[in-house]
Symmetry: C2
Subunit: 342 residues, 2 copies
DNA sequence: TTGTACGCGTTATCAG
DNA sequence: CTGATAACGCGTACAA
């Protein structure tokens, strides 16, 4: 291994001068600066991260905690974090909690010792458990997709997304729209619900049906679809795209046409949303952007935590269409054995 | 910050003894060991990773390099790496090259300085560029989903997967099966092709049509589907599930029924494969397992690099069925405006 | 502007 | 079994 001492020797200067030259510090003659640079280059010198961390206290690393790397939502955020960190010369240490909120404190402390700051995606950790966690963290923490008073955060303008979706559906003539909600402990589900509540008390008097809470997965959507049908909804707004995809699949399996019979709207605009048939109408959310912003938030050492809210946009695709008479359970199931329900 | 010195002081022993006690080293009296443990516990002592790394030379960190974190294939591998690293008390530093092989050398050296070993997923880096890269790496490197003479690797029994898929298709009566290949520079595509070549010179004389190389994405599948139809194939085996999903979508859009008219087989068994309609028949590949094995391979300091090949299994779902008379371009397009081609 | 010397927190070596 | 003490590689007061 080639150390700074080797570089200094080769350049004919002292260790201190070499150090200053490498870190572009002032008080170094142009000649020496060039000498050192040349020596470092030719020797293939690379500073030892641990040694640097030991003296400076900064590791050049950001941590990322997500519930599930295989979930396209978090994968997209991770890409953004990754990209921004790399641009700013930092590396990213990633931890997947496997959807288990009980391990989060441990993961956070373990990671916390090795990083300069932490990007935390923990949609389902109860608010009262989040506070202590933030307090225990020694470095800066940036929250993604949720807000809290004590930490900077980047989230999305969910209320506006819900509004756009509802406007779209109502313009299409849907009076009975149902909401397939996410986990009760989810901050962003709460956001959707309050937005929905505010929007459904409008002058038109249209209310939106609460189908309940579902696991934020394909399976959750399957359950929600049955309930939506039973309730006679002509449109269903989903907690996220995974749920929407499940609704789509279940509707298809039960012989209900989408969007002819019922319209479906998702949330997030995950990659799969545009690839499925029919392509999903969904509220596009700048996931990667959020990841990038989160790492920038780590640096901002303002006293008051900064809360950035990114705007969202409804993407209309093929899963929504003008309302037709309600479809209920009395509708005959398909006789095609491929799609029939036993 | 509480250091080991504080612990030693509190326990009434020297720094050296405290160090030994903490690292479960021998030559420490049971009494002192307990004292130190108690002191560390009550003070909330956590060893400083950088300091430890500086002296030991080991960082307790493994690196992971992938082309795209948002690709479900790599996301699954990443989960495995993550899980195994955590189990063994290590953290993982992840780098996403964004499918750009030209940045890989840089990424690898940057990461290499901070980790004890590197798990490298680089399916498309040309073999002649991989060799030098491995030579330049200072720590151990484990390859995932490709093999090379100079590094340990974990890959899949692709030949057997292809065989299983082909057997399945032939048993269903498909004489004309087409292969929608992946990138030419891909090691695993080459594996599929040689397996295919060996299998198609059998006594039956059935050959498999080579549709060409496609981008390993949904879009690639769309292109492949048109070619498969033009060639009159009754079944198409795809490079991976993303391609297969593209084929499925395109077939549907062109009014060709799956699996009634043409069967489709994927590769990898990514999560989406079982969620789509019709559910995809595909060769399941233990992605997460591979990730776990890869981190274990890093530790094994054998002189000869170890090459582990994981077995795969065809999962028969709804996208394959007995062959029907070939469908060609002469077949009338659907008149349903939803699916018609302009 | 340059060099010397100390400290960062740990582990490891060597006497006791 | 225990305790000083010397590294590890680098940044940085302080002195020159």
């Amino acid at each position: 291994m080639v150390t700074l001492r080797d570089v200094a020797r080769a350049a004919g200067v002292s260790l201190a001068t070499a150090s200053r030259a490498m870190s572009d510090a002032p008080h170094v003659s142009a000649a020496n600066r060039a000498q050192v640079a040349r020596a470092a280059e030719s020797l293939g010198y690379r500073p030892h991260p641990a040694a640097r961390a030991l003296t400076t206290g900064s590791t050049g690393t950001v941590g990322l905690v997500v519930p599930d790397l295989a979930n396209p939502f978090f994968a997209a955020v991770a890409k953004g974090v990754q990209a921004r960190a790399r641009e700013t010369g930092r590396e990213v240490l990633v931890a997947d909690t496997d959807e288990d909120v009980t391990v989060e404190p441990d993961v956070i402390t373990r990671l916390g010792d090795r990083v300069d700051g932490l990007v935390l995606c923990s949609p389902r950790l109860p608010a009262d458990r989040l506070g202590p966690l933030l307090a225990a963290a020694d470095g800066p923490v940036a929250l993604v997709n949720r807000e809290a008073p004590d930490a900077p955060s980047v989230s999305f303008d969910i209320a506006d997304g819900v509004r756009q979706a509802l406007d779209h559906l109502r313009a299409l003539g849907h009076d009975v729209v149902a909401y397939a909600g996410g986990p009760r402990s989810s901050w962003s589900d709460a956001e959707r619900r309050t937005a929905l509540a505010r929007l459904s008390t409008g002058t038109t008097g249209d209310a939106v049906l609460d189908l309940g809470s579902f696991r934020p997965t394909h399976g959750g959507g399957v359950q929600a679809a049955d309930l939506a049908l039973a309730a006679g909804a002509t449109a269903v707004l989903c907690f996220n795209d995974l749920v929407a995809l499940g609704v789509l699949a279940r509707l298809h399996a039960r012989g209900v046409a989408t969007p002819a019979d019922v319209s479906v709207v998702g949330f997030d605009d995950v990659a799969a949303a545009s690839l499925v048939t029919p392509a999903l109408t969904t509220v596009a959310v700048p996931l990667a952007r959020a990841g990038r912003v989160a790492v920038d938030l780590l640096a901002g050492g303002s006293p008051e935590p900064e809360h950035r809210r990114l705007s969202v946009e409804l993407v209309v695709r093929a899963s929504t269409a003008p309302a037709s008479p309600a479809v209920t359970d009395s509708r005959p199931l398909s006789t095609d054995p491929e799609v029939a329900i036993r």
